[in-house]
Amino acid sequence: MQVKVFVTPRVGILDPQGRAVEHALKSLGFTGASDVKVGKYIVLEVDAPSSAQARAEVKRMCEQLLANPIIEDFRFEVEGE
């Protein structure tokens, strides 16, 4: 089943990319834009008998490789849930 993983800079960690994009948006006139964060979007197929098992496995993938908990938060969506 397909899994979509979203990795974003951790709350409270300086995100210079997000800040630069926010600044650019404001200079384009999008004055309502704030709290911009730039992160990663990872899509993968997971072969698991149930979505619960896929979920458990993807959580381990995120903790071990896909995200660095010191600087990043992650969340993910499992297809069909």
């Binding site: 960690i13 300086l14 210079p16 990319q17 630069a20 990663k40 490789l65 896909l66 660095n68 010191i70 600087i71």
Partner: protein, 229 residues
Amino acid sequence: MKWGVVRFPGSLDDGDALHALGAVMGQDAFLLWHKEETLGGADCVVLPGGFSYGDYLRTGAIARFSPIMKSVAKFAADGGLVIGTCNGFQILCEAHLLPGALTRNRTLSFICERVTVRVENARTPFTRAARAGELLRLPIKHGEGLYVAPDDELRQMEERGQVLLRYVDARGEESDAANLNGSTHAIAGVANARFNVFGLMPHPEHAVEAMLGGTDGLRIFQSIVESVG
């Protein structure tokens, strides 16, 4: 003493590290391919700078799973000396052999400059040839050198003296302008709590010959030679 310099796919500074240690300092220095599982009897392992695995996902995130890193982790757990410069520092953080993480420079740009760092703790295997407070001129060249660690971890690191190098201005004073990449507490180099693993963003291996701009990098390598004895 014997130095093992690890080469990952995408390492860049392994050659300069070998030159600094071998040709300049007369040490027995050899390459270790990242797929090797032994360290060739090295007394100190060097993780060089570069862009291992193209910096994919995060800097150092893939290299930490190279076969040799298991041996490096065991070597460090047994008290062996490990030094990582630039990408090597990033790999050591990703491998949890050092606290914290390195992320995008606050300027979002790649910085290539000669900077001044202050030796904050000279009672370690990596700094004992220097004086506490001594200023070293070393080059930096990185896009992701902004050091971050959780607040409680930072406090403990400062208390234990794990911050070995800090970015300062030419007079040795901390200033926002001197902290080019925006590192927390202006941290340029940290050791683990046991002081046998050291990571730094500046490149001591690029500062070992006067005709190439300075020899302050020798302080770091000489410290290691002295401590191995």
